[in-house]
């Protein structure tokens, strides 16, 4: 066999993918023959379903995610000291399996943003269709597909992984670690993502069109849909497995690899945020995996979990799907928000030149959200026909979870109060986030109120709310974070003027796109419809036009990132005069992050205290106590 096919890489991955199809075909043929099924060797549906699971696994083996472990299992030398796969010297290195957390972080971010643009284009197609009542550009099958793939991509392939990507790059640097705790697992987590995204996008090629049941995939609609539905069912498994593995990695990294002196209450809030998020992911994500396995078994093997019309006993339980699904998918909205809270804390403190106001309350409120986040899932089901008493406790917990969130908002306001505000791009996005997220939080409290929710659930009010939380919330924090760490990640500076243009275009067009959706929702326009009543036509036309401008505004960002990365001026090690550890090394950081192990001697946000430092590059033995200035917080 030629060396190219034996060495890990794209050639071997391609060969293994073909092997995967062959494996699936043979397995299905043999099993169906043994079961005396008709068309044992020609059933395309069955082969596709097994291929969906087999081909990605074969691909991951082929590209080299498992080489080290296979060597170890088979007793061959594992080359533990070989760091040849660390660091990236050319763009090609980003297309290989790499165990360097900084390379993986950038891989994560680029792949996620690719899917942001794909999902965004789908939104543009939907808005084109919705510009006028009636059907113009797509048919209802394609429209439902666009709705579903748009949401699934942006949730599972953008917001969740891009936060994992930012944290992958920044978090080990912030806690003074040379890498993540499990670098090879980290690489495997990343490579499952493009696999999941490809599966979801490829569903458009399936006979019968892509999955079209919304990202919620409610049974029994999802168990009776054409083949494309399975692409969601299986794609989510890979995205979910990736999430779980990364979260475990973060937890172990944070718990065991902090630099000497970095107690939990000296961790930057981004680390706290990812600690909380990882707890949520590890506990909640198996539930969505389960819900989708139920659907897979129902759809592919006729298990009848959700078929309420089977037999005399009518065995299936339709509501169970929703309970299991939302037990993940409500915590998921915090999985998509808490890391953003962490980014905002970093940006606001550094850009306002003030310590975070109420650091401990900020950390505790994150943990409060983690716990409360598991007690509110059924607020998605107020009109689902579940036992009606459940609505009352869920209403109360849903309202109460706004308290820790409110604490964070007010603490951020107090942080910028009397500071010295550097109003550059990351700061503008952070301040913009505070306003749009407050609106999203307020509409969230409104939705907690059962009688109002009964009227507006499944309407455009919900669409408005989730976009205020996920676009005005998460995406604004992502933009803030990307601009803020761009110099550290690339070693170059972005163009400030383009950055500000991008912010103002995004902020204005975002509000004009999603603000009016509250109104048409309350007026009675349901969500997920390709066609609507004439009375909503003027609003929808206006929304569509502005949404195209919102879509165009992302091109400013893309241009700024690409051109600045290639041609931008060199960035200093610490252009923002920040105290956290990642800014104390060069931009971009050295291959193993720190030449000497840093020792943390104070809090991460001691701005305004003369001479305060967070970490020093001496071992604990060498480090002398630096006095009380940096270690004892003062209170006004």
């Amino acid at each position: 066999m030629p060396a190219k096919l034996r060495a890990p890489g794209w050639y071997r991955a391609g060969m293994f993918a073909v092997l995967g199809v062959a494996f699936a075909y043979t397995l299905v043929g043999i099993v169906r023959t043994a079961m005396h099924f008709p068309n044992a060797w020609t059933d395309g549906d069955a082969v596709t379903i097994v291929s969906l699971i087999a081909v990605p696994l074969f691909f991951l083996v082929g590209i080299g995610c498992f080489d080290y472990w296979f060597y170890w299992v088979s007793g061959r030398p594992t080359r533990p000291e070989d760091h040849s796969s660390h660091g990236a010297t050319s763009w090609k290195d980003y297309f290989r399996v790499n165990t360097d957390h900084k390379v993986i972080g950038i891989q994560y971010i680029c792949v996620s943003f690719f899917f942001l643009f794909v999902g965004g284009l789908m939104a543009m197609l939907m808005r084109a269709e919705l510009a006028q009542p009636g059907m113009q550009f797509v048919n209802s099958e394609e429209f439902n597909g666009l709705v579903s793939v748009h949401a699934s991509l942006l949730i599972f392939l953008f917001v969740i992984p891009v936060f994992a990507g930012i944290a992958n790059f920044v978090l080990p640097l912030m806690i003074g670690a040379p890498d993540m705790a499990f670098p090879r697992l980290n690489a495997l987590s990343f490579w499952m993502l493009p696999v999941a995204g490809t599966i979801m996008v490829a569903s458009f090629l399936a006979p019968g069109g892509s999955f079209a049941t919304g990202w919620t995939a409610y049974a029994p609609l999802s168990t009776t849909m054409p083949l494309g539905q399975l692409f969601f069912t299986v794609g989510v498994q890979f995205a979910g497995a990736s999430s779980i593995a990364t979260a475990l990695n973060f937890l172990v990294t944070i718990i065991t690899m902090r630099a000497p002196g970095m107690s939990f209450f000296r961790m930057p809030l981004l680390v706290w945020a990812n600690f909380s998020t990882s707890l949520l992911v590890v506990i909640a994500t198996p539930f969505i995996a389960a819900s989708q396995f139920f659907v897979l078994l129902d759809r592919a093997l006729g298990f009848q979990f959700f078929n309420a019309f089977v037999g005399a006993g009518k065995d299936g339980s339709v509501l169970m799907y929703q309970h299991v699904f939302w037990f993940y998918s409500h915590p998921a909205v915090y999985i998509m928000m808490l890391p953003g809270f962490g980014i905002i804390s970093e940006v606001l403190s550094v850009k306002a030149r003030k310590p975070i106001f109420g650091y401990r309350m900020m950390a505790f409120s994150l943990l409060a959200i983690v716990i409360l986040g598991f007690t509110v899932w059924a607020h998605h089901m107020f009109v689902s026909g579940m036992q009606s008493w459940i609505r009352i406790p869920m209403m109360i917990t849903t309202a109460i979870i706004a308290v820790p969130t409110g604490i964070k908002i007010f603490s951020w306001l107090a942080t910028i109060w009397r500071g010295v505000l550097h109003l550059d791009t990351p700061m503008l996005f952070a301040l913009g986030f505070l306003t749009t997220f407050t609106l999203g939080g307020i509409s969230g409290v409104m939705l907690a109120m059962v009688p109002f929710d009964i009227h507006v659930s499944d309407t455009y009010f919900i669409v408005a709310h989730i976009h205020y939380v996920l676009f005005g919330g998460s995406l604004f924090t992502i933009f803030a974070g990307i601009y803020y760490w761009f110099p550290k990640m690339t070693g170059k500076m972005y163009d400030e003027r383009l950055g500000k243009m991008h912010f103002w275009a995004t902020f204005v067009f975002f509000n004009l796109t999603f603000g009016p959706m509250h109104v048409i929702g309350i007026q009675g326009m349901p969500r997920r419809v390709a066609d609507y009543a004439q009375q909503f036509a003027p609003y929808n036309l206006a929304i569509s036009i502005v949404s195209f401008l919102l879509g165009l505004s992302t091109l400013i960002f893309l241009y700024n990132m690409v051109v600045s990365w290639r041609l931008g001026p060199r960035a200093a090690a610490n252009p923002w005069r920040a105290l956290t550890l990642e800014w104390q090394v060069s931009s971009p950081p050295p291959i193993f992050n720190f030449d000497a192990v840093p020792t943390v001697v104070g809090g991460p946000y001691e701005y305004g205290i003369p001479g305060a430092v967070h970490g020093i590059f001496q071992s604990p033995a060498e480090a002398k106590p630096v006095g009380s200035v940096a270690t004892s917080p003062t209170t006004e």
Binding site: S140, N144, V383, G406, L421, S457, T635
Partner: protein, 347 residues
Amino acid sequence: MRRHPVIQMVVIGAIASAIGIALSFWIHWFPVDAAKQDKPIDTLYHVLMIVSIPIFVLVTTVILYSAWAFRMRPGQEHEDGPPIHGNTRLEVVWTAIPAILLVSLCSYAYGVLTDIEQTHKNELVVKVHAIQFAWSFSYPQPGGRTVSSDQLYLPKDRPVRFDIDTQDVIHDFWVPAFRVKIDTVPGIVTHLRVTPTRLGSYPIVCAELCGLGHSVMRSTAHVMAPAAFAAWLSREQAPVSAGGAGAGGGGAPTQAQLIALGRHTFTGDGGCGACHTLADAGTTGTTGPNLRMLRGQTQAQIRQDIADPNARITPGYQANVMPQTFAQTLSAQQLDGLVAYLATVSK
């Protein structure tokens, strides 16, 4: 001019909140009020707005004021703000006040909920049946008979209880003018209570994504004067236009009766028109094929198309879109009628 900034902000914030609240009353948010359930929900919304707007204004005012008053000025590039780490009293305040506010709002909302879901003695029971992609309604009558309709007719001022079921997937029964909705859940019957208070016709909307025809799964609710409703009900009970399942009288129906029953089934119980365009029935659905194409088909072929839609799929359309349950859900007579009707109009 040199007033304390906090006082300035309070004044500006109060004015902005007042304008915001006034605006929230001026905007026409809701569809028309057509049921007793509407007022409490609308009032709840306005109360929520009165509470929310000052909070939003507070946040925005602090941000805008800070961005203006504390922005970095030339020469401040290397200055820092004061090292304030927290203030326990403030933190207690902004934990306690929102918590109290939220719990009070919940109690109020709980009151509204009990109010709108109150049961009544003289409830009119209407059964709502959902199928991809049509609604049908039936009115149980004394003596076990049932009146069926594809549009909803309700008497004004009488409390109604809807018993809602589905023959396939989850739908959601929603009349925006009544403000209330509930999912139709396979395997269980869900309930909804409404007291219509305003004469008129209002759209019925399926609010839960239920497949290809979701956006055309619509019907109309007519609120009528009690006398008019009674007249409609007795007219529907008359044997000539009886379309209800099992409503067959004595003797075999004539061909004309069959065709009439078929047309009634096409637009009514069967819900065919929601997906199929048929000029004679005046329907314009586009989810399934236009039934012009039935020209030249035998009655047996048409019957197969209804009972086993996957047997022959029109090019350009997908299998499994049309429900495969019509042979069970329609009575034998309704099926005969449909076949006769379709064979006649497509000749």
